[in-house]
Symmetry: C2
Amino acid sequence: MSKNFTVTILGSSSAIPTRDRFPTSQLVSCYSRHYLLDCGEGTQIQLRKYKISFQRIDRIFISHLHADHFLGLPGLLSTMDLLGRKSEIHIHVFEELNIFMTGFLQATASIWSFPVHIHPIPKKQDLVLFENNHIQISTFPVKHAVPCNGFLVKEKPRHPNIKKEIIDHYHPTIEQIHKIKNGDDLVLSDGKKLANADITIPPAPPRSYAFVTDTVYTESILPFITGVDLLYHESTFTEDMKARAKSTMHSTAKEAAEMAMKAQVKKLMIGHYSVRYDNLELVLNEAKTVFENTICSYEGLEVEV
Amino acid sequence: MSKNFTVTILGSSSAIPTRDRFPTSQLVSCYSRHYLLDCGEGTQIQLRKYKISFQRIDRIFISHLHADHFLGLPGLLSTMDLLGRKSEIHIHVFEELNIFMTGFLQATASIWSFPVHIHPIPKKQDLVLFENNHIQISTFPVKHAVPCNGFLVKEKPRHPNIKKEIIDHYHPTIEQIHKIKNGDDLVLSDGKKLANADITIPPAPPRSYAFVTDTVYTESILPFITGVDLLYHESTFTEDMKARAKSTMHSTAKEAAEMAMKAQVKKLMIGHYSVRYDNLELVLNEAKTVFENTICSYEGLEVEV
C-alpha cells in the first residue's frame, strides 16, 4: 500500500485552452486510490498521456458547472464503459449535472454498464463528502459568478510506528502490535511495562490539500484551508488586470499569494491561467513577491503533498 | 481568395483516445472557409494547437451520435462565445443532438450569444446539405451500429482562365472578361471574332473529398464516392480482427482499400484506428497491398485534395 499523497495536474488553463494547456482537471492519488478534482474537456486524453489507470478512479468531485470544469465527464465515462468497467463510480457535483448527463444518454440512446452515482452537493454550505480509513474529502463554498465549491483532501492521523529494536528484541504478537499502535504500553511476560512513548516513533502529521477554483479573493474560505500543506488557488490574472478579475469573479496571482499567507499554508500552487499568459514567469513572480513558496501548476506536474 | 482545398486531421483515433490520438475531427478548408467534419472531444484544443481560426468555422457536420464524434461541440461553442463570436454557426447532425445541447445549456444555465442553427439530417437518405458559389456538401448513409452518414465535399466547376497574352494584347473590358469566362468568344472592334477555345485555358477539373466513418464495408456508398480525388475511409482494424470489425460494425484496412479500388478514387486516407495499433505500419501495409496510393491520417496532417 503506497502512502503517497500526490496531486497530478491534468489541466491548468482557464476557460479557453491553449496549445499546451487543457481545461481544469487534477488527479489526487492517496493510498493507492485516485480521485479526480474537476474533469474538463480532454481529461481522458490527459489520463492516457500520463499513463494513469482509469479504473482506479472511483470518485470525481466537480467544483461548478462552467463548461471548462466538467465537459470531460461523458467521454471519460464512455471510455471506462468501453474498457469493460464494472465497478461503480461516484460523482459529487451540483444536482444540475443530472440534466446534462441525462441529455447525453438520451441523445446517444446509451446506458452505462456500470453504476454511476451522482451525489448532489448542497449549495452554500460546507460538508464532508467522503471518508475512508485514510482520508476525508470535504467541500466548502467559494465565490464565483455561479455557485462554486472548493475541496479539502485531508489525511487522517496515522498510527505511530513501533521502534525496530523493540520488535527485534521482544517479538510482540500481532495483537500487542495493534494495541501499541493504538496507544497502549507493552506489558512484558514478567509484568514489566514499557511506556508507549518510549517504544514508538510518532507518525508524520496528517497532510492536507485544498483545491480552490474558480473564485474571487474571499477570506470566507480561511476556516477550511488554514494550515494546509498545499493550497491550489486559482490565479487567472495578474494585478494589472484586477478590474477584469473582479468583474469575472476570478483572482490575481497576488491575491492567491495573499490568501496563502493569511491561511499560513506550507506551499501554494497557482493555475487556471488566462490565455493571455503565454509565459508564466510574470504570474509566478507576482505571487512569489508575497508568498515565496509558490509553484506554477502545469500539465503533467506531479506534486507530493 | 485562396483556391486551396485541404483537409487537416484533428483526431485519428477510434472511440478510445491514446496519448497521441484524439477522437475523430477533421477540418476542411476550401476557398478561405473552414468546415468541420465531426467534432470529437478536444477538437477545440487541436484547433488551438494547429493555430486554426475558430471564427472562420461556420458549418459543422456530424456523422453520428457516438460520443467520440460530437463531444467536442459544447466546449468549442463555449469558447467561440468567450471569444466574442457574433456570427451564426450551422450544425448538420441527427436531430437527437438537440437533446444533448439543450441539456448542456440547461445544466449550465447559459445561452450562446450568437445564433446556433441545428439542421437535422434525415436518416437513411442522401441529400445536399449546403452549397455556395464554390462547393457543395452532401451526405449519404453508411452502415454502422447506429444511424451514421458520410459526407462528400465537391468543388463546383471553375471558369476557364483567359490566356495572359490575350489580356495583354487586347485589353478586354471587365464585361468582356466575364462573358469570355462564361463561354463567349471575344468580338474585336473591327468585328473580328476570337474563338473562346483559342483564348482560354480550361480550368482544373473540380476536386472532391469523401469522408466515410464509422461503417462496415458497404458497396451502397459507391454511387456517392466513385471517382473522388481523396477518400477518407475508416480502418479501425486489420484483417486478423475481421470478426471484431464485423461485430462492432467497423472496417479493416484491407476493406477500406478494396473500397478505394472499387470506387476508383485517386487517393485513400485511412484512420479511426483502434487503440491496439500503436505503430501504424501494419495497418498501412495491409491497405497498400490492395491500393497503393494510401496514406495514414495522423494529428496535424494537412492534405491537399
